[in-house]
Symmetry: C2
Subunit: 461 residues, 2 copies
Amino acid sequence: MLISNTSSSLIDTLRQRRQRLAQIIDFPAVLWSGSRNPRNFAANVYPFRASSHFLYFAGLNLTNAAIRLEAGKLELFMDDPHPSSALWHGEMPKREEIAQIIGADSAKPISELEFLVADAATIPAQDAATWTKQSQLLNRWVLPQNPPQGIDLELAKAVVSLRLTHDEGALAELRKAAAVSVEAHKAGMSATMQAKREAEIRGAMEGVIIAHNMTTSYNSIVTVHGEVLHNEHYHHSLQPGDLLLADVGAETETGWAADITRTWPVFGKFSSTQRDIYDIVLAAHDACIAKIRPGVEYGEIHLLAATVIAEGLVNLGILQGNAEDLVSRDIHALFFPHGIGHLLGLDVHDMEDLGDLAGYEEGRNRSDRFGLSYLRLNRPLRPGMLVTIEPGFYQVPAILNNPQNRSTFQYTVNWDRLAEFADVRGIRIEDDVLVTAEGSEVLTAALPNDADTIEQLINSQ
Amino acid sequence: MLISNTSSSLIDTLRQRRQRLAQIIDFPAVLWSGSRNPRNFAANVYPFRASSHFLYFAGLNLTNAAIRLEAGKLELFMDDPHPSSALWHGEMPKREEIAQIIGADSAKPISELEFLVADAATIPAQDAATWTKQSQLLNRWVLPQNPPQGIDLELAKAVVSLRLTHDEGALAELRKAAAVSVEAHKAGMSATMQAKREAEIRGAMEGVIIAHNMTTSYNSIVTVHGEVLHNEHYHHSLQPGDLLLADVGAETETGWAADITRTWPVFGKFSSTQRDIYDIVLAAHDACIAKIRPGVEYGEIHLLAATVIAEGLVNLGILQGNAEDLVSRDIHALFFPHGIGHLLGLDVHDMEDLGDLAGYEEGRNRSDRFGLSYLRLNRPLRPGMLVTIEPGFYQVPAILNNPQNRSTFQYTVNWDRLAEFADVRGIRIEDDVLVTAEGSEVLTAALPNDADTIEQLINSQ
C-alpha cells in the first residue's frame, strides 16, 4: 500500500467520480481491492496491484479492502493491521487515517460488509480468494470470466461510461506515467550500444521505471524478434543488423498506465530496407494521429493505417494493386495483423476485464474479418478518451509461410521483392494520444520517433 | 517459459534427483507447475514462476505443466500451444522438444494425467486454479495451507531430504544467483550519492538483475527505515545521516535464489555511533560464519550471534550485565528480534511452503521464547546445506516504546545511552553460506561488508 502522493485533490476527484456514478445508478455498488497472490510460498507474494475499478473510486493500492458506494457516499471496509505486525511491516496507516486521505464518509472493519451488501452490484476482482468471497457474500457467482448480468451489468456500463473519458485527476497520473515511460525508452536507447543481450536493454528501461517508484503496466516486450507480437523472452543476443522492438510502459503508484513502443537498430543505424519500412509505419502513425478528433470513428483510423501501410508497400513493390482495394481484401493484415490500438487508462487495455463493454459501442460486435477481428476499440472518439496509436509491420512466419496464404496471394505479394526486406522482422511505433476538444494531444510526444533522431539518441552514448 | 540455459548436465541432474527420490518412496508422485495469475485483466498477468518442487524435478519454468515421477522415470504432461498462438507468442517449443531438453521418458497431453494419478502423492501448487485441479483429480483436498498427510506427507519428507543439501546442478545455479546479486548491491552503492529517493537505489539494483535475465527472488527491501523488517515502500527521500538497508536477491531463470543484505550510509560516511553498532553486527556475522561446519547446530549459531551482539551492546554501555545472562533472558531480542537466518535454495526461505518440515529437525518444534520463536532453521548443519547468516540491530518503536518493556528492562537497558544511538534505526548484514565438508564457503563473499570498503564503494562514484 502506497500513500506517498496524496493531496486534497484526490478527495475531490474521488468525490466527483462517485457523484457521477450516483447520477447513473440508483443501487449500491461494492468493489473489492483484491488479495495478494502467493508466489512460491505464502509469505513470498507477487507484487500487489488492486482491481482497477477499486482504484478508480478508492484511489489507493490497498490490499484486502472494499468500498461501498451509494448515492455519492463512500464507505471504506478494511481491517486495521494486527498490533504485532508493526514489527515486520512498521506502523501502518490505520483504517481511519486512510478514510481521511480518500475522503470516505465512514470506515468499518471488513466483517461488517456482510450486513451491507444486500442489493449491491459488484465487479469481480481478478484473484480467486477475492471473487470467491464476493460470490459468497453476494450469494451469486461473481466470476471474472462470466459476462456481468442484471445490476452487475448496469454497474459495469455505468463504470465504463465514467472511465471512458478521463478527468483531470486521471490525466495528471497518466501524464506522469507517460513521462516516466519516455525516460525509460531513452535509457533503453542509450544502453543499446553497450548491450549484448535483450535483457540488458530491458534492465536499463525497467530500472528507470522502478527508480520512479512505479511498476511496469504490463510485461515488457524487449526483443529482436518483434515479429512475435507478445514476445516475453529476453535472452537473445543482439546481432549486427537486428532491430530491437521495445514495448514498455510505466504505471503510477495509484495504477495509471502508459504504453509506448519504439523500434531501433541495435548497432545504431537502420539499413536502407529497414528505414524504408520504418518510414511507412511512421507515416501510418502520423496520419492516424493527424486524423484524431472528436466524432471520428476509431475503426476509420484503423483502416487509415492499413491503407497507408498498403500504399507504402505498393510503392516499395512488395504489394501489387490499389491500396484501398488491398485493404478491403485484408491483404495489409499479412503484415499488420493487429488493431491500430486500444483504450488506455488504469489498465493498459482499459477495462478489458469487462470484455468488449468498454471497447465497443453498444450494439457493435467484433468483425470476423481477418483484418478487423483484433480491433479492440470500435467507437466514435470523444474528448477525454486516451487511445494508443500503434501501427506495425511484421514478417510472421506462421502467416507468411502458410501455404494457403502463399497460394492465395501468389500474384498480390511480390515474394521475391519481399525477400529483400528479410532484415525487417518486426517494427511497431506506438504513442498515447488524448482526444481533445480541438483534436488530439500526444502524451508521449517527448520521445522522438523519427529514424534520424533515434539513430542520434543511440549513438550519443 | 525460458530455455536459454540448458545442457546435457540438466538431464543428468534431473535424473539423479528422481532416482534419489525413488530410493525413498515407492509410490508415484505428481507435481504441477502452476498457472499464471491475472493482474488487472485476464491477458495482463503477473510474471509466472513455477512451483519450486516442480522446478526441482523438471528444471524449466513451464506454465500449466505437470510431471509424474515413479521408480526413477519422468513423464511430462503438457499441451502443445494452439497453432494460432504462433502469431502472438512465436513458435513455442513443443511438448516433445521440452521432453528432450529435460530428459523425460515420455510426454503426453495434460488430459491424460487423470488416468495416471491413482495412488499418487502430490504437493499443492500456490495458485488456486492449480490446487483446485489437483484436489479434483486426486479426489482429496490439496490445499497450500493444510499440513500434508498420508503419502503426501511421505512425499514432502522425501523431497525435503533431497532439497536440504544441494547437488552440483543446484550449486551452479545458486552461484549464478549470488554473483548477480553481488553486482546488484554494488550498483546500488554506486547509485547512492546521486540518488534522492530509496526507489532510485532500488531501480539501480533491480535493473542489474533484470539485465541478467533474472528476477528478484522476493520483494526487495530498500529503505532508510530498516527498523521495519519487511518494509516494501520505496518512496522515502534520503536524508543526511540516514542508513540505507538493502535486502535484495536475484533468482535465476530456473528458479534458484540468492539473498543478500547490506546497510550503508546514504551520504557516504557512517557516523561514529552508526559505525559502533555496525561493527557489532559485523562481528556477530563473522563469528557465526567462522563457526559453521557440519554437525554444528544452527540454533547454536543463532545464540552465538545473540551473545556477540549483547556483548557489544554491553561494551557500548547500552546494556548492563553479562552477555550470556542477557541472552538467556532474551534481552538481545529487544534489538535483534528475528532469527539468524534460514535455508536458501529454490525458495528464499527454502521449502517454507511445507511449514517447518524443512527447517526443523523431526521431533523439534518452534520455541515460544521471544528470542527464539522466529528461528526458521533448527537442525544440525550438513555439507551441501545453504543458509543465510543475517544478524541485525534495530530500534523498533513497537518494541522499545512498549511500556512493559520499558519497565521490565528499566535497569538492564541504559535508555539514556541508547538515545545517543538514535541515528541507527536498522542495520543488517546478510550473506549466503554453504556448509562444506571442511567448514563453509560464503557464496556472496565478493561483496564487501566492512564499513571502510563500503564507504569507498559509495564514494568511488
